[in-house]
């Protein structure tokens, strides 16, 4: 009996071995290479200069009324990326949360159909999808033709922050809905009934029961939208008319300019910032969960 159990344990240990080796080699070690390149120069001598360059490099930009001012190039780029990513995440959450809720309460058949519909666009190549948005949002595009036909003035969208945000929301929207939905669908309906029986109105049920219970899904939805949208470089190139230079563009630009060490430095800094943020969010989620 115990021998058999030992055997089972052994099987499981063995099952874990390939992955552990793989994770060490291809997940952990490469991160050290990012750090190594970030802290060395072209001849692989140790240096801080790549890191300091990120924080100190300045550019002149023309502000209001033709006054020029000095700004920190990469900090401006970083905060611009962060801003657009946060806006996109908020929109995804605001639009996706009700959708996920409706989904989880719909009939099985409807659920199945809607989930399939939400997933289909994810199977289309994302470069092509982004390209299609260009056709829609151009000044002479489909959107403006439609508006004109119902007698509304043209709107200028392409090349604005709005266009970039639309692109990000579009590409990552399913990643917000699906995790929230999968948590909500597992929610115990008896809890909601109990809350109602104890005198909660609908809003209170939402605020005090549904939302706290769905928090893990919300957190992972936020992660899955925020992370890719902060680092994208294709969407901003295509829908931002090349005018929104984001942190992803900066990394790609340095890579193409064969400046691997500085590219690694930007990647390294971005990684550290994101890991710290995620750790905080996880902690927040855990503390909320333990209060429950």
């Amino acid at each position: 009996m115990t021998k058999k159990k030992d055997g089972l344990t052994l099987v499981r240990r063995l099952a874990l071995a390939p992955y552990s080796a793989w994770a060490l080699l291809f997940i952990v070690v490469p991160l050290f290479f990012v750090a190594y390149y970030a802290f060395t120069d072209n001849s692989f001598h140790f240096t801080f200069s790549n890191i300091t360059r990120f924080f100190t490099a300045t550019s002149e930009v023309s502000g209001n009324g033709g006054v020029t001012k000095e700004v920190h190039t990469y900090l401006v780029i970083f905060f611009r990326s962060l801003k657009l990513a946060v806006i996109s995440t908020i929109i995804c959450l605001a639009a996706g949360y009700p959708m996920a809720y409706l989904l989880s309460r719909a009939s099985d058949r409807t659920q199945k159909i809607l989930i399939t519909l939400i997933m289909i666009p994810m199977w289309m190549n994302f470069l092509i999808r982004t390209y299609a948005w260009m056709t829609i949002l151009q000044d002479t595009g489909i959107l403006n033709s439609l508006l004109r036909s119902i007698g509304l003035g043209p709107v200028h969208v392409i090349g604005t922050e709005t266009a970039v945000v639309i692109g990000m929301v579009y590409d990552y929207f399913p990643y917000m809905i699906l995790p929230i939905y999968s948590v909500m669908a597992k929610m115990d309906l008896k809890l909601l009934e109990a809350a109602r029986d104890l005198g909660c109105n609908s809003f209170q049920v939402l605020r005090r029961v549904i939302f706290p219970l769905s928090l893990p899904g919300v957190i992972s939805g936020i992660t899955m939208v925020l992370i890719p949208s902060i680092s994208t470089f294709y969407i901003s190139q295509k829908l931002g008319n090349g005018k929104f230079y984001l942190i992803g563009d900066a990394i790609e630009g340095q890579y193409v300019a064969n400046n691997l060490h500085f590219a690694a430095a930007i990647a390294f800094i971005l990684m550290v910032i994101l890991l710290v943020c995620m750790a905080f969010m996880q902690r927040f989620a855990n503390s909320k969960a333990s209060v429950q």
Partner: protein, 676 residues
């Protein structure tokens, strides 16, 4: 529960948002013209084109090979890992494994891509490998980012499983392995299948990680599309997407139909057991689903489990057989010539043209009596190509960079000297194209195409009197309708030519003055463009743009009725030559030279010249009357301006190689422009 009207409207709006772009690409895939913004009538032309485009179909095949292999391997390894992690008692080990598993999910893909690339390149150099980036590295990268998703799908299923089950099986006489296979696997199968599908989807659509880890002739579809940025993305790609869309739709409907008989029954079972509804559909694992799944009650109806297992076996079997077939077919028995060229830069049999690559393979066989297979891949820019080759991680036999890049590579010892005895057709290259600065002794390169930058303008928006020189692009009358290059060197050059500055200056001050000029222009600029230029000019979205001469004709062919495009060449403008070279990483120099020689033969050279629509330095082409007729008078005049003085103008205006400090400066100044 029935949906309320407001909920219905809301859902409809969301679906409209999700499917609007899909509808657009469905419609435009039937476009008659080569435009993604002006619809000029329905036709199946692009579908026919797609079927003849072997390179794109190869890319589709590569994408599938990669996605199938990566998803199968990561599913097997990930499932095993989940089983191991689940029973892991050691707290420290468990926490560290959990953390590591989370890394690829909370790291942006650009960082995962860069980190793997840096490691592959470094290790490759350490061992002196000729090619460290190849199919293998891409496969490793894809498996790596798929693994966590598989694990996070399987883990919750293990948590839902009754722990007593495998023990009961063993008490009844099963061996541990048998208990695992007979009892645990069927229990976790839904998670495994979702994991497999997810891994497949992620791998199929990945661009960023592939972009950094790809190399050596293995080109996936997303990379091929990205590399079309100098030329244009054609409706052919929309046609391909449309086909993919309907295949997926058909698959989904089929699985739904298959699922239906057992569906109602399983639902009933689930309710009785008080189970959650969603797990089978929960496509995306929440990063935290491990903490969520714990409350669930386990048993799965045995009919359902059996059914699922059968489906899983069917899917797995199809994938495995597919992979074996693909691998057998893909195994190279003949020498492979790796050619690395700009996107959309060779006559490849599309639009009824001559297929140069197939032509070469046939020609080679006839002439030398042995088979050769050309593996053709594309790059988006000289710098992109240089980054790949200089990493020492790839191996190409023929590359086609621009002049200044040839100078740089020759100087850095990255090119092999050509043996002109093997390239007798070199004699067709015009005198004007020999002995130019980038290769003064004609040692390394054979010119392929040449062209120059001019200004394309819409006569319906721009007054003719404003045209003629670079000032048009700074004219406030057209504020908000001017386009500029989204490529630092070309954009700076327009400002430098306007100001009468040297485009190859070593003086930072010159570049700063050009930057100031570009900043002055920036409020007038509608968009910084590369391939987007086609859409924007064809539809009248913008009034004027500096771009490569030959591409004007592509736009002309597809322009909307309200648009009247014209072209002029300013007095001072950039001339460039793209030439064929053999890099030091070449594996088959003699075949590479045969390839270069073949490209100078009359038929392929004319086909290429007509396809690319740039000037051709080959006298056989220039003097061919059919070619001149096919191109038309206007095109011949624009593409071949006064060859007698070509060398002189070329020498004064062509880009030279800048040293790395200058390049860094240009890049920094470019970023400064872009953050304004």
């Amino acid at each position: 529960m029935k949906m309320k009207p407001i909920a219905k409207i809301y859902t409809a709006l969301i679906m409209l948002f999700l499917f609007a772009p899909i509808a657009i690409l469905l419609v435009f895939s039937f476009n008659e013209a080569k435009s993604l913004s002006v619809f000029s009538g329905g036709s199946l032309y692009w579908y026919k084109e797609l079927l003849h485009d072997t390179e794109t179909l190869d890319a589709v095949r590569n994408t599938l090979i990669l996605a199938i292999s990566a998803s199968l391997i990561s599913t097997v390894m990930g499932t095993a890992a989940a089983v191991g992690i689940f029973r892991l008692r050691n707290k420290v080990l468990r926490t560290s494994l959990d953390t590591v598993t989370n890394i690829p999910m909370i790291n942006p893909d650009i960082i995962t891509g860069i980190s793997l690339m840096l490691m592959f390149v470094f290790v490759g150099r350490l061992f002196g490998a000729a090619t460290s980036l190849n199919f293998g590295t891409m496969l490793i990268a894809h498996i790596t980012f798929c693994l966590p998703y598989v694990i996070l799908q399987v883990l919750p299923k293990l948590q839902q499983m009754d722990r007593a089950l495998p023990e009961a099986a063993m008490d009844l006489g099963c061996t541990p392995l048998k208990a695992f296979i007979k009892v645990e696997i069927p229990e976790i199968m839904p998670g495994v299948i979702t994991g497999l599908i997810m891994a497949f989807t992620l791998s199929l659509d990945d661009f960023v990680i592939s972009y950094f880890t790809s190399g050596n002739g293995f080109e996936t579809l997303p990379i091929r599309i990205y590399n079309m940025t100098k030329k244009t993305v054609t409706p052919k790609m929309y046609a391909l997407s449309t086909i993919i869309f309907f295949v997926i739709l058909a698959l989904l409907i089929m699985t739904n139909l298959m699922d239906n008989p057992t569906y109602a029954e399983t639902r009933r079972n689930e309710r009785r057991a008080g189970r959650n509804k969603a797990d089978a559909d929960g496509f995306v694992a929440s990063a935290t689903s491990g903490t969520v799944g714990g409350r669930d009650v386990p048993p799965v109806g045995s009919a359902r489990a059996k059914f699922r297992r059968r489906i899983a076996l069917a899917i797995g079997g199809v994938l495995a057989v597919g992979m074996i077939i693909i691998l057998v077919v893909a195994a190279p028995q003949t020498p492979v010539l790796n050619v690395y060229n700009w996107g959309e830069y060779i006559s490849d049999g599309s639009e009824g043209s001559f297929d140069t690559i197939k032509g070469f393979e046939a020609w080679y066989k006839e002439k030398y009596g042995s088979e050769v297979e050309v593996n053709y891949t594309t790059f988006a820019s000289n710098e992109d190509m240089y980054a790949k080759i200089s990493s020492g991680a790839v191996s190409y036999d023929v590359i086609i960079p621009s002049d200044y890049m040839i100078a740089r590579m020759a100087q850095e010892g990255m090119l092999l000297e050509l043996d002109y005895d093997n390239i007798p057709n070199y004699s067709h290259i015009g005198e004007s194209f020999r002995g130019l600065y980038y290769d003064p002794d004609n040692r390394y390169s054979v010119p392929y195409t040449y062209s120059f930058v001019g200004v394309i303008w819409d006569a319906n928006q721009v007054d003719e009197e404003d045209t003629g020189d670079w000032d048009l692009l700074w004219n406030e009358k057209y504020a908000g309708n001017i386009l500029q290059f989204n490529n630092s060197r070309d954009a700076f050059a327009t400002a430098q030519f306007k100001l009468g500055l040297d485009v190859n200056s070593q003086d930072p001050e010159t570049w700063r003055r050009a930057l100031a000029e570009l900043k002055k222009q920036s409020p007038l600029v509608k968009s910084y463009v590369m391939d987007e230029v086609y859409n924007m000019m064809e539809s009248g979205e913008a009034a004027a743009v500096p771009y490569y001469a030959g591409d004007y004709f592509t736009m002309l062919d597809a322009q909307a009725e309200s648009v009247d495009l014209r072209f002029y060449l300013p007095e001072r403008s950039n001339y460039f030559i793209d030439a064929m070279c053999i890099p030091t990483c070449c594996q088959h120099k003699d075949i590479a030279e045969a390839f270069i020689n073949y490209m100078l033969e009359e038929e392929p050279a004319i086909a290429n010249a007509e396809y690319i629509c740039y000037g051709c330095p080959n006298d056989l082409v220039y003097e061919n009357e059919d070619y001149a007729e096919e191109m038309g008078e206007e095109a011949m005049e624009i593409l071949y301006p006064d060859l007698d003085t070509f060398a002189e103008r070329y020498n004064s205006f062509a880009f030279r190689n800048l040293d790395s400090d200058m390049l860094d400066l240009v890049n920094t100044l470019w970023e400064e422009l872009k953050i304004n």
